[in-house]
């Protein structure tokens, strides 16, 4: 039986801790600063190319989100359990009248809120800049991108949590998280392309392979929200539109939600089996 008051107490504590986490604050400020810079550049080009602020900025933000948001989520999640296990605070917490489910849910909810707050800060400041400069078009695209970025952040957090549940030490967990981030960000596209070439994959297999990477899920969903087509993604994009049509966005969002739920459940399973040591 989960006591949601305990979940709330623990979530508040995590939120407080995230505010004191220098790395997290650095990521959050870097994201806000870079998104402001991208928006500024987009606004500078408005006169020249005749494009409005929010849509153009959203296009620029997709790559920034792909780079920074998984890094924030993975590292924050990786330290979530392993760091406290190493310090001994996890053992002390579980000696109190709470259960493991409350502890995991509380920590996860607090960290997820911290990530959403960091993204809201970056997107919010950028929106103010765009609005102040009169670029008010395609607000819905911008909000959709914020929603997808939050989902990607929470999915990354969940994967980080799974790493944290399995790793013996905080440093190991962060190391694995950084390696995974590199793999997903830098080798995701190349890996899919290389595998497709070597194995001579069909276009549907290629698309299925892309869906295995949460970053690709975000990218496809974000590009589709922005342009209403996926021509820019090549044959796999065209295949996706023809096959799934209007069901594509629910499919991509559903898979991103699965990336939140499945690693979290696995983390809970391994955490329970392993205990707090």
């Amino acid at each position: 039986m989960v006591d949601f008051e305990n979940v709330l107490i623990l979530a508040q504590k995590e939120l407080h801790d995230a505010g004191r986490n220098r790395w997290f604050m650095l990521y959050a400020l870097a994201f806000a600063g870079l998104s402001l810079a991208l928006a500024w550049m987009a606004l500078m080009g408005t006169g020249r190319y005749g494009l409005a602020g929010f849509g153009r900025t959203s296009a620029s933000l997709i790559n920034l989100v792909l780079l920074i948001v998984p890094l924030m989520g993975l590292t924050l999640g990786a330290l979530g359990l392993a760091g406290e296990r190493e310090q001994g605070t996890l053992l002390y917490l579980l000696a109190q009248p709470i259960n493991q489910a409350e502890l995991l849910l509380g920590k996860f909810a607090g960290l997820a809120l911290a990530l959403v707050a960091a993204l809201a800060l970056g997107f919010g400041l950028t929106a103010l800049l765009i609005a102040a400069n009169g670029g008010g078009a395609q607000v819905n695209v911008y909000l959709a991108l914020l929603g997808l970025a939050c989902l990607l952040a929470i999915a990354s957090l969940s994967v980080g949590f799974l790493i944290s549940a399995l790793a013996p030490r905080g440093s190991t967990a962060v190391g694995v998280a950084l390696f995974l981030w590199l793999l997903l960000v830098f080798f995701g596209d190349l890996g899919v392309m290389g595998t497709a070439l070597v194995l001579e994959l069909s276009v549907d297999q290629l698309f299925a392979l892309a869906l295995a990477n949460p970053l690709q899920l975000f990218k496809i969903a974000a590009v589709y929200s922005l342009r209403q087509n996926l021509d820019v993604l090549g044959p796999a994009g065209v295949y996706a539109i023809r096959t799934y049509g209007s069901q594509l966005i629910p499919l991509l969002v559903g898979l991103l939600i699965a990336w939140v739920v499945v690693p979290f459940v696995a983390a809970a399973f391994f955490f329970k089996r392993r205990g707090v040591l």
Partner: protein
């Protein structure tokens, strides 16, 4: 004080904990009655800490542990409401102040809103330190903070893992005094220690663990007898009385020898006072003594 007429408040049956090939706790069973102070005693690595952690179900184990009838595996949260825990390694969130730490744990322990922390803080002499960050506290103050947290919500049982291991001698005496008062007030204590003097001072019953096995359960005054360990008593005497003392003690069969300013006597468990009584009866002034 202990009440052995009532049902045990802690029941441990067949407790076994393995880490891979290593059996840290091996088929240990014991009961603790309300108000009783029970010590787990043994060398480092004997399994004391692991056994205490299993009492709180902080790790998976085989066997059963019940606290006030609640199986810790099935009703762990309800069981932990009845227990205040003081760990060996004090692991708080260092960036919180003492006040913030107390409030955080008080909320988890469902301490009523408006609870007045002052009497507890005064009793543990923590009141002047409430605004300090935990990282700035000394080992002794952190230990008191752990005890303050353990006492929040007034649980009937305290589980303490080597509660004085990180303290200097003065802080240790203070802390033992707190624990003694708590025992007198009716709390049930289950604690681990590798210090015999601590166990003797505080426990009603001692459980001796060796390599994870429970090898002896006895009251502390019977412990030395059971263990059969002899000690050496060093007695400081006025110089003119050393020779008569040697003669008297040797005449009563005690293995005695001269030692600087006095005599050295090998004494058997439970018979340490005999040598001092013989000297007193012979009118020999004992200036000082120590036991080794």
């Amino acid at each position: 004080m202990k009440d052995t007429m009532t049902d045990p408040i802690v029941q441990v049956s067949g407790l076994t904990k393995r880490f891979g090939a290593l059996t840290a706790v091996d088929d240990v069973s014991f009961d603790v009655h309300p108000g009783e102070a029970v010590a787990l005693w043994g060398a480092n690595g004997a399994g004391k800490t692991t056994a205490l952690r299993c009492l709180l179900h902080l790790m998976p184990f085989s066997g059963t542990v019940t606290i006030a009838g609640k199986d810790v595996k099935k009703q762990g949260k309800a069981a932990r409401f009845l227990v205040g825990f003081v760990p060996q390694e004090l692991s708080f969130h260092d960036d919180l102040t003492v006040a913030q730490t107390l409030v955080f744990y008080a909320r988890l322990k469902k301490v009523a809103d408006g609870y007045d922390f002052t009497p507890l803080l005064e009793r543990l002499e923590l009141l002047p330190h409430v605004q300090k960050r935990v990282r700035d506290l000394s080992g002794g103050l952190k230990q008191r903070l752990a005890l303050a947290i353990a006492l929040l919500a007034d649980p009937p049982i305290l589980v303490l893992d080597e509660p004085t291991s990180n303290l200097d001698i003065r802080a240790r005496e203070d802390f033992l005094r707190f624990l003694h008062d708590l025992r007198e007030s009716g709390k049930t204590l289950v604690f681990s220690s590798h210090r015999l003097e601590e166990v003797i001072a505080l426990a009603d019953r001692v459980l001796l663990l060796e390599a994870g096995k429970l090898v002896l359960a006895a009251p502390p005054h019977e412990l030395e007898k059971e263990l059969g360990r002899a000690s050496t008593l060093h007695v400081i005497l006025p110089a003119p009385t050393i020779e008569p003392a040697l003669e008297i003690l040797a005449a009563h069969g005690l293995p005695v020898s001269r030692n600087g300013q006095g005599v050295r006597i090998r004494v058997q468990p439970g018979a340490k006072a005999e040598a001092l009584r013989l000297l007193h009866d012979a009118g020999i002034l004992v200036e000082d003594f120590s036991l080794e």
